[in-house]
């Protein structure tokens, strides 16, 4: 990787804020699921993978596009989705981003560039190309992020998308969040190549293998790729190494790891590590961060209250938004 300088302290603080926000929400989603109070029906925890989108989104604006997947709430929050509407969507309320009709796997919020969330493995990449194609045609410098997992790198849509993006030099960044597992199948049982980043060479595209849980490295990798895309030089494949702390779905016993493997990964939890780093390097005081965290707690509490107080959709909604013409 070419080194283009380090992220400055403000950047690192921003990454921390995004990551901490994701984590606070994740904790709250878990407890809401347990209590059952908000009626959230499904949840895919991104715990352990927060740094990846937090670093990337530091380099984006609302004008840039994101297409993500079922395990995408970290991407969405990092991208700036408003928490009230997010929570209301999870709770199936009419005030939700999608009026409660999409749910956790289908969150959309165009104002913040959250264009599509898909529940189909591989589904994010073809659509990301289309967004990037529109930017290319319009001659603006927007970039599109396609988020997906390691398992998704084995499905046909990955191949078709990377090839097309390269042939057309689209301003898209393919971000593979390699958490080493696909539902319950370990990486090597499904994937024939040691590093997914190496697949980039099959498309004449740069491939970057990076520790996605290292905010500095992740930010630098994202910057190279985003700068390249904005400059009209085409797509990049980033393989961001990470770890899935909470199993595939809530309740997953997650028994697929070797003895100690998961524990070791969780000990390397990147959020407290970044917190320590910020303090150790004098970028923030303990008090600063506590203040930030309290603000985040409040945000989450407000969002939960907003969702709880919101109305549920009327069943007439079934007939709406099917076609442009309402029935």
């Amino acid at each position: 990787m070419t080194t283009l300088g380090q992220p400055d302290p403000a950047t690192l603080l921003d990454i921390y804020e995004r990551a901490a926000r994701i984590r606070k929400n994740d904790e709250a989603f878990h407890s809401a699921m347990q209590s059952g109070k908000l009626g959230i029906r499904i949840y895919y925890s991104p715990r352990g993978q927060e740094i990846i989108p937090s670093a990337i989104c530091n380099l984006l604006t609302d004008e840039d596009y994101l297409v993500t997947i079922y395990r995408g709430v970290h991407d969405q929050i990092a991208k700036g989705i408003p928490l009230n509407e997010l929570w209301a969507e999870y709770a199936g309320r009419v005030t939700g981003t999608c009026k409660g009709k999409g749910g956790p796997m289908h969150v959309t919020h165009p104002e913040t560039g959250n264009m599509v969330t898909t529940g189909i493995v591989g589904g994010s990449m073809p659509i990301a190309n289309g967004l990037a194609m529109a930017s290319q045609m319009d001659g603006n410098d927007r970039v599109t992020i396609a988020s997906f997992g390691d398992g998704a790198s084995n499905i046909g849509a990955f191949h078709e998308s990377l090839n097309m993006a390269s042939v057309w030099k689209l301003p898209v960044i393919f971000v593979c969040q390699n958490n080493l597992i696909a539902e319950h199948t370990r990486y090597e049982k499904g994937t024939s190549v040691e590093r997914i980043a190496d697949r980039a060479s099959a498309y004449g595209m740069p491939g970057i293998h990076v520790n996605g849980n290292d905010p500095l490295e992740m930010w630098k990798a994202a910057k190279v790729a985003i700068d390249r895309a904005r400059a009209g030089e085409g797509p990049t494949l980033i393989e961001a190494m990470t770890f899935r702390f909470m199993g595939h779905l809530i309740g997953d016993p997650d028994e697929h790891w070797n003895e100690g493997e998961k524990e070791a990964a969780m000990e390397r939890d990147p959020i407290p590590a970044l917190r320590r780093y910020l303090i150790d390097h004098g970028h923030a005081t303990e008090g600063d961060l506590q203040g930030l965290e309290e603000k985040l707690d409040q945000e989450v509490e407000d969002a939960m209250a907003f969702a709880a107080e919101s109305a549920k959709p009327d069943i007439l909604e079934l007939q709406k938004d099917v076609f442009a013409e309402e029935k």
């Binding site: 596009y65 264009m115 659509i127 938004d321 076609f323």
Partner: protein, 327 residues
């Protein structure tokens, strides 16, 4: 004498006029640009030369990526026409078509819509065999959120395609390859034909014959044959399957009190079933005979000419069905 035109020219003209009128209209598909011949049967000829290869893009052979690119671009203002060369190849892009294009409006609670047109050609009669000729419109009609349009004349092809391109929902536009070069009346330039308005092609009093697409030719032949025998057939061309113009159909059948439906797709679980069910439900006490269906025989499209001919709904088979309702 009125000007004549074939389907290829009419469809080409519709795309041309739509592209001229709206710079957001664009086209992508295999071989569609002029450097690649302007389409395998030249339907897109001249468009890339006039509008440029940014707006008229020859793609890799990658239907999932083609469809995704169209969808993504449509989310941010483009009106892509995606060509899936033959309808059987929609099986490769079904995920993007069904799980994404048809559903993004609903799942996003109306925030995003997918104004794409999917052009595809198909139809038995050319000896291509089992994988190149299927009529699969019933699949997509069964998919809430997708509009399905099947023109039967060059003029309709022009006017309906304009409507599809202008429509704010995904429209599947099905073209018949074996009759591509059949001449018909020329369209009126710039005149869109609304979707969901069936065309009463011929008034009659004894029985209503409902059809669409290529089978309208067989239906016309059957009408002529029967006219010589003193049977007065009212012929309705559906033009679009979704939206379905049930009022026009019902009005006709409540007059004739008999109905026959003819289409090329295999009969079982085809569009004819839905029509028969609806007509019977709405006009139960008025119907003088059970609704008859004439469709392709229940098998893959065969290669040998005699088999292929027998597979299709011939004028004779339609005539027989009509006589059955009159017996």
């Amino acid at each position: 004498m009125a000007k004549k035109m074939n389907f290829v020219t009419a469809i080409n003209l519709a795309m041309h006029d739509a592209m001229e009128q709206d710079e957001n209209v664009m086209l992508l598909g295999e071989d569609v640009a002029d450097e690649e011949g302007g389409g395998v049967v030249k339907v897109t000829k001249g468009l890339s030369t006039k509008f440029g290869t940014s707006r008229v893009r020859s793609t890799p052979i990658a239907e999932e990526a083609i469809m995704g690119a169209a969808i993504g671009a449509s989310l941010v203002g483009k009106r892509p026409i995606a060509e899936i060369m033959l309808m059987n190849f929609t099986t490769v892009s079904m995920d993007q078509m069904v799980n994404h294009a048809a559903k993004l409006r609903f799942m996003s609670g109306g925030q995003t819509n997918v104004p794409i047109t999917i052009r595809t050609m198909t139809g038995a009669g050319g000896g291509a065999g089992g994988q190149h000729c299927d009529m699969l419109e019933a699949w997509f009609a069964h998919t809430a959120g997708m509009k399905v349009v099947v023109p039967s004349t060059p003029a309709d092809a022009y006017g309906l395609l304009l409507s599809c391109i202008q429509d704010d929902d995904p429209c599947l536009f099905i073209e018949n390859l074996p009759t591509y070069w059949t001449m018909g009346e020329a369209p009126e330039r710039g005149q869109a034909i609304p979707l969901g308005k069936a065309n009463v092609v011929k008034d009659g009093s004894d029985v209503t014959l409902i059809s669409y697409g290529r089978t309208m030719m067989e239906a016309q032949a059957a009408c002529q044959q029967l006219e010589t025998e003193g049977v007065s057939v009212e012929l309705v061309d559906l033009r679009s399957i979704v939206p379905l113009d049930l009022p026009t159909v019902l009005e006709s059948v409540s007059k004739t009190r008999r109905a026959v439906i003819a289409h090329e797709a295999v009969t079982p679980f085809g569009v004819g079933a839905e029509l028969a069910a609806q007509i019977t439900e709405m006009l139960f006490s008025e119907l003088q005979a059970p609704v008859q269906r004439v469709g392709g025989s229940y098998n893959a499209v065969p290669y040998a000419q005699a088999l292929e001919d027998a597979h299709l709904p011939t004028p004779d088979r339609i005539t027989d069905a009509i006589k059955k309702t009159l017996a």
